[in-house]
């Protein structure tokens, strides 16, 4: 075998790398750290912190290397297609992750809650009305649900607009207008961050003024699980876009070749669509 046989690179096979091992070690620490923290063991936080540090080290190192390889033109057409497939399937897996929580919400609303108020459960919970939203028959801690038309509606507008700015930025990249692309992308990120800020404000409001908590029965459980998981994804998406922004400023992308941009954009649109589902199903209905 010779290095030249694949130098122009139909395929790309990377050199041995320590990053997978580092990443696994990070997850081992994180898992033990989480177990320790949740069970209130002294070493929990430390292990969690160490795991996070190792994970960050791995993410910087690994992605840094990928970017370096990409910049040294080691990735050909075939690799590009592989990236596209993998990002699509990754997003599909995320869709299914959300599906589990949406499924839980649907099941609770359409089945468990009505069932607990049905004739079958009357001897157990004679006074349970089974209306939605609810804390369930046994938790007595009334709350006010989050209205859809305040901050959530604003947040919907923010995310949708951010999607528009992102598309404009993409068009600018394709047209080769770098500074325009940077501007639109920065605006996208700003909108995302404002969205997150509002989300935090909304949570504080829910806890302090509405008495709506994670422990508010099935409504609180599904509300915070879905919006929280989504918020986490917005955060990840914003970080991805931020990295892309820096790369854009450094001139990494050409009109023909900017898959990192597109991958982050796909992810952002996915997060966007999930929010629309959330807005309709969690807030409006």
């Amino acid at each position: 075998m010779s290095a030249t046989s694949h130098a122009p690179g139909k395929y790309f096979v990377p050199e041995p790398s320590k990053w997978p091992l580092v990443g696994s070690f990070a997850l081992l620490l994180l898992a033990f750290g989480a177990v320790g923290t949740m069970n209130k063991l002294a070493w929990g936080w430390w292990t969690l912190a160490a795991g996070s540090a190792v994970l960050l080290y791995m993410l910087f190192g690994w992605f840094g290397q990928v970017i370096k390889e990409s910049e040294s033109k080691l990735y050909g057409k075939n690799v590009d297609i592989s990236f596209r497939w993998s990002m699509s399937w990754f997003i599909f897996s995320e869709v299914m992750f959300f599906a589990a929580f949406f499924g839980a919400l649907g099941f609770a609303r359409l089945h468990s809650v009505p069932d607990l108020a049905s004739i079958d459960s009357k001897t157990l919970w004679p006074n349970f009305a089974g209306s939605w939203p609810t804390t369930g028959p046994y938790i007595d801690s009334p709350f006010t649900p989050m209205g859809a038309w305040g901050i959530p509606a604003l947040n919907t507008a923010l995310l949708l607009l951010s999607g528009v700015w992102l598309t404009l930025s993409h068009h600018a990249v394709i047209a080769g207008h770098r500074s325009k692309a940077i501007g639109w992308l920065a605006l996208t990120i700003v909108f995302g961050v404002v969205f997150l800020g509002f989300q935090v404000y909304e949570y504080i409001h829910a806890y302090s003024a509405l008495n709506l908590k994670l422990t508010s029965g099935i409504f609180g459980s599904t509300f915070f699980m879905l919006t929280g998981f989504h918020g986490f994804h917005v955060t990840v998406g914003a970080i991805m876009l931020f990295v892309v922004l820096i790369r854009l400023m450094r001139g990494h992308f050409t009109p023909q070749n900017h898959f990192a941009f597109e991958a982050a954009a796909w992810y952002w649109h996915f997060v966007d669509v999930v929010w629309l589902g959330l807005f309709v199903i969690v807030y409006m209905l």
Binding site: A3, V13, S17, L21, G23, M38, P137, L214, M225
Partner: protein, 531 residues
């Protein structure tokens, strides 16, 4: 672009025998063969651990009364046996085969994402540490059964948290592995290899990888909700807060039923490679095999509640799930008949891989039939959570998946090691496993029909005889697997004295047989052309 050390290129033909790679390369490797090898050894180690747990269970059940383990430990053993066997032994074994064989079968230099491939593997040891380690924490390992049903799993100690994070990590590993496999199959095929020329093993893995990507996140969601119910005061699975423990079962089995095909489909793929080889005929009904595999996969998403007939589903639901489940028998039967038709009038020889495939064919079909029996709602209401179910799923998982994994090791082992295994020993392993397997699990049908519940450490006197038989069989089966590892090590060391030819099986077809045995460290760096 430089890849793994180049200094062995001076001697191309023998680079495997003395390539300068140290064993430490395994930590950082990006070579699909190294990674496949690690998957297989890991799988075998887990198989032994899970096997020891099974023997603990069977030792306790040898006689009525409590002799060997405390009931708490018994429950932990049952739970961890199930999880370790499924996620630790069977799934990684087939991922290992995929890693080794897919690039060879497709004419690709490696997997599409060679670095991520190594991560998929190296996530497994941390998960194993969490699982095995959980036996030693206060309260012990998870003990609610591998299905992790609440409320037991919400009440359990920190061993359950370790289980939950292990499931998360193994899920991440599976998803990355699957993305890699799908991308490799879709994008790294040699020129000329159209989809309908794919080897069956690649087809079944393509569809399995899809199932994994679709369902592992759902399981992750389910155990995440368990975790928040346990520690953060949510009430997903708690009726007091408007949730429902049965909801967990729905979500779990939305993953769980496709999971059984995640285990079975790659096994089908292996069998579809081996039966034509030893029948010296091409696979009968290739296209229908592809369609049958796809239909099984799609149907597997809409039958989950056949695991929940006793939870009070509405009658219409029970009827629907019963019929939908029975429908799966149709594509499965299509496969069985295709294999039979492949053998029809072939010039069959019975080397060990073929023997294991025949064992698979008979016993998997039996497991399929008992599955059909269990799909009948009124019958399952009687048999649910009895030993009949245990017998059923061991027929499909041990005699189905595990036997075909053995077949794969004997079939492709010469390609991996460069040596033939010793045929006589292989045959002994087969007959020994086959007989011991049936001694262990066949009587469990009787026990279940007579009403013996599963997941119990003690039982009524009336079940004594068949339990004793079953336990004897289990230990015999266990020893057969020690014998197996001896055979494999002897193969690696070349004890048969017979070097494997590039194509050791005269009826075999496919690109993997065009490279020398053992396959050089790097293969197909320039893609072959398929006509």
């Amino acid at each position: 672009m430089a890849s793994v050390p180049h200094d062995h290129s001076h001697d191309h033909a023998h680079d495997h025998d003395h390539h300068p790679l140290k064993w430490t390369r395994f930590f950082t490797t990006t070579n699909h063969k190294d990674i496949g090898t690690m998957y297989m050894w890991f799988s075998f180690a887990m198989f032994l651990s899970g096997g020891v747990m099974a023997l603990g269970i069977r030792a306790e059940l040898f006689q009525p009364g409590l002799q060997v383990v405390r009931p708490e430990l018994f429950n932990q053993l049952t739970t961890l046996h199930g999880i370790v066997m499924i996620f630790g032994a069977i799934m990684p074994a087939f991922v290992g085969f995929a890693n080794w064989m897919l690039p060879l079968q497709l004419g690709a230099p490696d997997m599409a994402f060679a670095r991520m491939n190594n991560w998929s593997f190296w996530l497994l040891p941390p998960a194993a540490i969490l699982l095995i380690g959980s036996f030693f924490v206060p309260g012990g390992a998870a003990a609610g059964g591998w299905t992790l049903y609440p409320p037991l799993s919400v009440q359990a100690g920190m061993g359950m948290d370790m289980m939950i994070f292990a499931v998360h990590i193994m899920g991440a590993s599976s998803i990355m592995g699957s993305i890699n496999i799908i991308t490799t199959i879709l994008n790294l095929r040699a020129p000329g290899m159209t989809m309908m020329k794919l080897p069956m093993f690649a087809w079944t893995w393509l569809i399995t990888a899809f199932l994994l990507i679709a369902t592992m996140p759902v399981l992750a969601g389910a155990v995440t909700m368990l975790l928040t119910d346990r520690h953060f005061g949510t009430t997903f699975f708690n009726a007091a807060g408007g949730g429902d423990p049965v909801m967990f079962q729905h979500i779990f089995w939305f993953f769980g039923h496709p999971e059984v095909y995640i285990i079975a489909l790659p096994a089908f793929g292996v069998v579809s490679q081996i039966i034509p080889t030893f029948s010296r005929k091409p696979l009968f009904g290739y296209a229908s095999m592809v369609y049958a595999t796809a239909s099984i996969a799609i149907l597997s998403f809409i039958v989950w509640a056949h695991h929940m007939y006793t939870t009070g589903l509405p009658a219409a639901g029970q009827l629907y799930f019963m019929y939908a489940t029975m429908l799966i028998a149709v594509p499965t039967a299509a496969k069985i008949f295709n294999w039979l038709a492949t053998m029809w009038r072939g010039s069959i020889t019975l080397e060990t891989p073929m023997l294991f495939c025949l064992g698979f064919l008979f016993l998997f079909t039996m497991g399929g039939f008992t599955g059909l029996v269990l799909s009948l709602t009124p019958v399952d209401i009687q048999l649910h959570d009895t030993y009949y179910v245990v017998a059923h799923f061991h027929y499909v998982m041990v005699a189905g998946a595990l036997f075909s994994a053995f077949a794969a090791v004997y079939y492709w082992g010469p390609k991996w090691t460069g040596w033939m295994y010793e045929e006589k020993l292989g045959k002994i392993h087969f007959w020994w496993s086959l007989i011991a397997f049936n001694i262990t699990f066949f009587p469990q049908h009787f026990l279940g029909l007579a009403g013996m519940p599963r997941r119990i450490p003690d039982y009524n006197m009336q079940f004594e005889n068949w339990n004793a038989v079953s336990s004897v069989g289990a230990f015999l089966f266990g020893f057969a697997q020690i014998f197996f590892i001896v055979i494999v090590i002897r193969m690696i060391k070349g004890k048969s004295g017979i070097r494997a030819a590039a194509k050791p099986w005269d009826g075999a077809e496919g690109l993997e047989w065009t490279v020398p045995s053992p396959a050089p460290y790097h293969t197909f760096e320039t893609p072959p052309v398929v006509k």
